[in-house]
Assembly symmetry: C2
Homo-oligomer: 494 residues x 2
């Protein structure tokens, strides 16, 4: 692949022949800024991204979505090699895989992604941008950068977020990392005992990855982990992590990270009293915080206690002609939110008034599986609808059943059926409406995108599922399982 | 897992306390018969399946969907081990994987699936069935089996299909197999040189699997292979099979399978004249033929030249009160067709008149990738809409770009980017409607089910894609790529 730019150099990609004023300057060229820019440009407007970092595309390709997907793939690979090595097609895993090598592999590939982002943005999308330059916002119509003052009709703040630092002593110690520093290669040793602090969607993939690499891995969280999840589905996820060796301390606040200059342990409070978990590395998975300090100082942008920029339904901040998009405006800090909010801001800027609505969306994260869920949990559904509920589960009870089975899960179905996944649909009996869908396995994510779209635009019923044309073996078995029950007037669990 | 039945014994699961006449006897307990039965039972009717084989669920779990998914998983695993062995997390593949071992693994697991089918059908679905007994159809209201004559209001023929035997000499030779005999362990040696005859959705996964196992693999077809596919997408699929070592002879009719008692080669006609491809095994992937001989003889059921049972829009045959479903009624011989047609027959039988319509559906098959496609090919779209077309491709040209990337493809994205997949959306410029979607990669199948449902129930436009909430990194990048262009009034390729 030919390189299209040198990311270590300041880069200015501006069409100097275009003398129109900018409709918008996007401060930040991550997902929100880049997609907002592409949309604005596509509508015929003129924009400029000013990105102080060395690439377009933001955290996703720098240290977030991309590495955790790569690490997930290696996690599953290692799980299968450890389990099946020496049989059928799997050789014995006869060496200890090195985290440092994997990080280096990631960093090599990242260059290619940066380069593609550059090339696509410049050549295919025709957007204008400046990289490796710190912008200075003069006022709501002026941004200074690289010694030039650019006038603009609007400013779109797209500054993203950064990892939260929990309020415990010892964060400064060597060996305390998070998902952003991990991939920059800050570790000069191979961790052997890892404590992951946190309980959300970042905890699960990294704890699983560390465990798969052979590290003794312990998760510590002040409250229950994976709080948004359906409890039965969560139980499957946690059981499967425990089965691989991950230890959990839920409801055990971390009190301090211990050590002289480098980490030696984490002190936690358990119901039985204080306890020290010895470790050589601590991974913080304690959420993200919007990068709102600078615009607050520069423009007086209003933020809430968490640093979230306050916007109206058109994504306007309190300062006229200044919009905010992406992680800056708070949860969900997901790619679709970043990109779609960028698009909505651009429409509003170019005179197509569009309300920002998050809409229905599915949640996803990785463990040793892809976990995807949408709509209500069983607990929430019971709260709302009592006994007016019907459930479809696979496996229906006994986990040793060789289902679910589809790509990637089927290897487990045949060789370790308890590990082949879990899925559950929650349906309202009286209306036959699908209320919630929960999936632990492989390959269901693509489908959940469209299921959320269908559910957002109308009802999805068990009878709709029965009428669909499944592609069997499908990662989620919802369609065909629904069909087995859809003939019933009074729906019975399956 | 506890065993629930002995598949070597005749089994009669009839509720002898129920004295109602059967609403339907299903001849055959495969996907069509079992789902038709479940639906009829769910509606409150009474049914009986008579299956001469040893299990419910038909070919899918016996020798079709299930094994080819398992073999696909092993194909990808072997591809990665051969390519990356000795680096990062992959040990060197230091032994030759044995086909016979894999078949045995499959056969062990198959028992579990049969058992689950039995248990689910009996306990959860409450359907009545007889296994390991040959039915004799006396007339359109009477079936004799196991020495008893059962009266029924209707008969549903659900007899499935069997592999076509092409019209060439040498089919009797030892070493000539198909996907049904392969898994019964008919080979008492490890094949080293395999010729696959055929060019459809069965050719690709098995040729890829044999190649991944280390066999010298050659595909022979009398016409172009994968004829239904978009040509550009097909080119990617074939290039990727060639890259792994599969050889293709398209438009080269096989003339004879050669050998004394066992296969030694296949004679083909090429544009340069006749040629012999030496081999020790021939795999026939030459389509399926409906099992319509018996009902034609027993009841005078009308069939066409291909043996397809002729049905009206309510799935009725020419004989009153006799329906036909599943592979018996012809293409598409897919699971959704079998199951949904069973459901439709049951509705009609119980007085809920329902027209059979295949509806919109996506195609799927395996190679070294999951291949999924829906709607128009570029060739067909050009024929219909000329230049009124816009295309979104990933990669847009240069295959060395590290995209697409999502679960499973991302390992290739980082280590062998040319191999990370290909995807293409075809959109009508003037109406902005999505006409065709084509995907070579991993994990898109689940989504294509719902995309076909959305497209069947109305339009899907590029603007709809732009409004969806993607789960990034998603296996198909359609949503976010569409969003990069959706701002345009006049759509430009991406």
């Amino acid at each position: 692949m030919t390189k299209h730019y040198d990311r270590f150099q300041p880069t200015i990609c501006i069409n100097e022949d275009d003398h129109r004023e900018f409709d918008a300057i996007f401060i930040g060229g991550g997902a929100a800024g880049r997609f907002g820019s592409a949309y604005l440009r596509a509508m015929g407007g003129r924009q400029l991204i000013i990105e102080k970092g060395d690439h377009l595309g933001g955290q996703c390709c720098k240290n977030a979505c991309v590495p955790h997907h790569l690490f997930f793939d290696l996690t599953v690979q290692l799980d299968q090699l450890r389990r099946f090595g020496g049989t059928y097609v799997w050789p014995k895993l006869d060496f200890k895989p090195k985290l440092a090598d994997i990080i280096q592999m990631y960093l090599n590939g990242r260059e290619n992604l940066y380069d593609f982002m550059f090339e696509q943005s410049k050549e295919q999308l025709g957007i204008e941008f400046i990289l490796n330059h710190e912008p200075r916002i003069i006022d709501n119509h002026t941004v200074e950068v690289a010694g030039r003052a650019f006038k603009t009709k609007n400013i779109v703040l797209a500054l993203g977020s950064r990892p939260n630092r929990p309020d415990i002593p010892g964060l400064h110690l060597k060996g305390v990392i998070d998902h952003t520093s991990l991939v920059e290669g800050v570790l000069d040793y191979e961790p052997e005992r890892m404590v992951v602090i946190g309980g959300g969607h970042t905890m699960a993939p990294y704890a699983s990855f560390f465990c798969a690499l052979g590290m003794e891995t312990t998760v510590v969280n002040r409250s229950p982990v994976l709080k948004k999840m359906d409890l039965e589905t969560k139980a499957y996820v946690l059981d499967m992590m425990r089965e691989r060796g991950v230890k959990f301390y839920e409801n055990c606040p971390p009190l301090a990270i211990l050590g002289e200059d480098r980490v030696t342990g984490v002190k936690i409070r358990t119901p039985e009293g204080e306890k020290v978990i010895p470790c050589d590395t601590v991974f913080l998975a304690t959420g993200m915080r919007p990068n709102s300090d600078y615009p607050r100082q520069a423009l007086g942008i209003e933020v809430d206690a968490k640093g979230t920029v306050i916007v109206d339904e058109y994504l306007r901040t309190n300062v006229p002609n200044v919009y905010a998009v992406g992680d800056l405006i708070g949860a969900p800090m997901e790619m679709f939110k970043a990109r779609r909010s960028g698009m909505v801001a651009s429409r509003n800027i170019l005179g197509v008034p569009t309300r920002w609505q998050v809409g229905m969306f599915a949640e996803q994260f990785h463990s040793f599986y892809e976990v995807t869920y949408l709509g209500l949990t069983e607990e929430k559904a019971r709260e709302m609808y009592g006994d007016d509920l019907m459930f479809i589960r696979m496996p229906p009870g006994d986990r040793s059943i060789a289902l679910p089975a589809a790509e990637r899960s089927i290897t487990y179905s045949f060789l370790a059926p308890e590990l082949s996944g879990f899925q559950k649909a929650i349906i309202q009996k009286s209306t036959r409406k699908v209320l919630g869908l929960h999936h632990v396995g492989f390959g269901a994510k693509e489908g959940f995108q469209y299921l959320s779209w269908i559910m957002q635009n109308g009802e999805l019923t068990i009878d709709d599922f029965a009428e669909m044309n499944e592609l069997f073996l499908n990662p989620s078995h919802f369609i065909q399982l629904a069909r087995l029950r859809a003939g019933q007037r009074e729906l019975v669990n399956l």
